[in-house]
Amino acid sequence: MRNRFDSQLEKLNLELITMGALCEDAISASVKALLDGDETLTEKVFAADAEIDQKERDIEAICMKLLLQQQPVAGDLRVISSALKMISDMERIGDQASDIAEITKFVKNSDIKSKVHIKDMAAAAIKMVTDSVESFVKKDIELASAVMKYDDKVDNLFDCVKDELVRLIAADSENGEYCIDLLMIAKYLERIGDHAVNIAEWVEYSITGTHRN
């Protein structure tokens, strides 16, 4: 019985790692599509997003099965409940990655993106997602709290990008539409950073048993 429980828990862990990795792939691919204008990558993002949605349902099913059949307590219960919370954040990351890919189709010819700090922001957001998944894989509390702190950087970059875009629109209203698109992308990236923080918080909760906020 216990063995079965352990193997189910391990399966949950693996599925979560896979789902996290898919999120990393999705966001990396959508950012690459945005920056390099490689449109084949957007297809990859949509595929990854679909897979992420499927994984969310799979993991939900595993968690429910574990909760109903094994009635876990203490640490195991924490792991499962934090998994349930984590997957919704991961799913949101997947959605936002595919939203970015969607917008990318319209801004691919614009050279405005080289004028603003969108590249730094994307790199920061990817780093946050990667680190939050990494902190889950390694059960690393320090890395998790580093992710939470790193969010400030993404927020600052968002403000920075916003100011730059405002100035660009003022100077060149012709490209106003592109600027708005880029602003939305920046907002998505900022949201992705927030979701990465949520994941990191749930990682911390699953290890320590206390959740921030």
């Binding site: 693996l14 790692i17 894989v137």
Partner: protein, 549 residues
């Protein structure tokens, strides 16, 4: 064992004790029985004297029962009961015996429990039979009588046996308990245990040997795994890491104890997710992945035991960055070659088309012919360079001899002087003899290419200085010009095939873009190192140093 020995000793001592008690009681009873009989007999003889004298009445009050019986069995006298009422005694065992042989003895159980009646009959001189009888305790009664002391003794003996048995057991087992199983040499124990001890010793030896063999082969494996440049991971069928080497950690930037964890803990990229799938499905797979700017080829080979059951997988990660880069270079080269070959051919085709269709005025034909000539000679020099390069690429053994760089430099200077003079460029050769082991035609080619470039990319009335000599690092040849120079960012790239700093100018000067590639190849072939120092607008100095002389 302690319990069994203890119980054995206790049981046997108890049984022995019981047996000896029974025996002693038996013997005692016999003696008692005999003495009773003897005393009865002597009493009977005493009474018989009185009976003979007719004074039997004297025993009327005696303890014993005295009976006088006629030879026909009728009782004449009895001191305990009325003789008249007594039955005929002729058939009594002791009476019959006395009748026969003069005396008789019999023991009969009394009606009272535990009491025996003893009868002794004696034939008197007058033919009558005197029977004396008394009572004695039976065996059971004797035992019953003795029971309390026997019990006391038994309890005492039991306790004693208990203590002794425990002491003896300890003593017997002490040598066995004291055997140190880790160090059996020189052990002194029971003879009976000798075969076991020697057997254990032999087995210990063989176990130790096997352990050291296993340790050695494990060490061997570890050393091999640790020192291989490829990343290696062994996993079980569920993708749990059994062992991995440090190359793997280095490749994927992981550390810590990974054993027992899932393969996805090393890396969770798409490739590794595929690796995990193929481990579970027990099939072979090959994939290439990129991480941290390097390319790795990941091979998964399933492992099965003797009976063919899947047991896990071996994952090998090979760094193929160099290969991948070379592959990229080769692709670029092919693309470049095709492009470079196509350009002159296109203009030749265009010109010849025009000529064929008579679209060229006769006075212009000469000019077009010159164009064709120029393009063709460019093609030829390009093809020659490519041939040279591919010859150099073929890493075959070359004829080498002693080559003096100074002499070769002078030859080159002589050859190139006419071309240089046209642009007013002066060429000078300085330095001392520098003899190396190399092929002279290739060294000539190398210095010629360097000088050719120095002249081509020089300014009007510039100068080219070739110097040779022997420095601390080895023999060197350096070509210095006063030309346009190479920007610092591009100095690394000028040795790449078809790489040109200034695309327009080089076409015009008729270069193929392969000159410096050839220089580099030749230098490398003979163990030379190329150094480049250049400043834009001032000039370039390229030095080739041969450390092996």
């Amino acid at each position: 064992m302690t319990k069994k020995i203890f119980r054995g000793i206790l049981f046997s001592s108890f049984i022995t004790m019981l047996a000896s008690m029974v025996f002693i009681i038996g013997v005692q009873y016999r003696i008692y029985d005999d003495s009773q009989r003897d005393s009865l007999e002597s009493k009977a003889r005493l009474i018989s004297l009185a009976a003979d004298a007719g004074e039997i009445e004297r025993y009327a009050e005696a303890e014993e029962r005295v009976t006088l019986i006629q030879s026909d069995g009728a009782v004449i006298y009895d001191n305990k009961s009325d003789a008249e009422k007594m039955e005929n005694h002729a058939q009594r065992e002791e009476v019959r015996e006395a009748e026969k042989i003069g005396s008789g003895y019999a023991v009969r159980q009394s009606e009272t429990l535990g009491i025996n009646n003893r009868y002794y009959a004696l034939k008197l001189e007058n033919g009558n039979i005197l029977r004396v009888s008394d009572t004695s305790l039976s065996v059971a009664a004797v035992i019953l009588e003795l029971l309390p002391p026997i019990c006391a003794v038994a309890v005492f003996a039991f306790v004693l046996a208990l203590i002794l048995a425990s002491l003896i057991t300890k003593k017997i087992l002490k040598p066995i308990n004291e055997i140190d199983l880790d160090d059996l040499s020189g052990i002194k124990s029971y003879e009976e245990l000798a075969p076991f001890i020697s057997r254990i010793q032999a087995q210990q030896k063989s176990i130790n040997r096997q352990i050291s063999e296993l340790t050695r082969s494990r060490r061997e494996f570890e050393i091999i795994a640790e020192n291989m440049s490829e990343g290696l991971v062994l996993t079980d069928i569920n993708g749990h890491i059994i062992t991995h080497n440090s190359s793997m950690e280095k490749f994927f930037g992981v550390s810590g104890d990974l054993n027992g964890k899932n393969i996805l803990n090393i890396n969770r990229s798409e490739t590794f997710r595929g690796v995990f799938e193929s481990i579970k499905e027990n099939r072979r797979s090959d994939s290439v992945m990129e991480t941290g700017g390097r390319y790795y080829e990941i091979t998964v080979s399933p492992v099965s035991d003797e009976s063919g059951n899947p047991r896990g997988a071996v994952i090998l990660a090979v760094d193929i960055t160099e290969k991948e880069k070379r592959e990229k270079l080769r692709r670029e080269f092919t693309a470049n070659v095709s492009h470079e070959l196509k350009t002159p051919l296109t203009s030749i085709l265009g010109i010849s088309d025009m000529l064929k269709n008579g679209m060229v005025a006769s006075e212009d034909i000469k000019g077009f012919a010159e164009d064709i000539n120029k393009e063709t000679s460019r093609l030829i020099s390009l093809v020659n360079d490519i041939i040279k390069l591919s010859e150099l690429d073929e890493d075959k053994k070359r004829d080498t001899g002693r080559v003096n760089l100074y002499e070769v430099a002078q030859d080159v200077a002589e050859r190139i002087e006419p071309v240089a003079e046209k642009q007013g460029i002066s060429i000078s050769v300085t330095g001392t003899d520098a003899v190396i082991n190399a092929g002279d035609s290739l060294i000539f080619e190398m210095i010629y290419n360097l000088c050719d470039n120095a002249v081509k990319y020089n300014r009007e009335n510039g100068s080219v200085t070739i110097s040779t000599g022997v420095s601390d690092e080895g023999a060197f040849v350096s070509v210095k010009d006063t030309g346009i120079g190479i920007p610092a960012a591009e100095q690394e790239r000028v040795f790449e095939r078809f790489y040109r700093v200034d695309k327009g100018r080089s076409k015009q000067s008729g270069g193929t873009g392969l000159g410096l590639s050839i220089v580099k190849h030749i230098a490398v072939t003979f163990g030379g190192i190329i150094k480049i120092s250049s400043e834009e607008g001032t000039g370039t100095e390229i030095t080739v140093v041969f450390s092996e002389m």
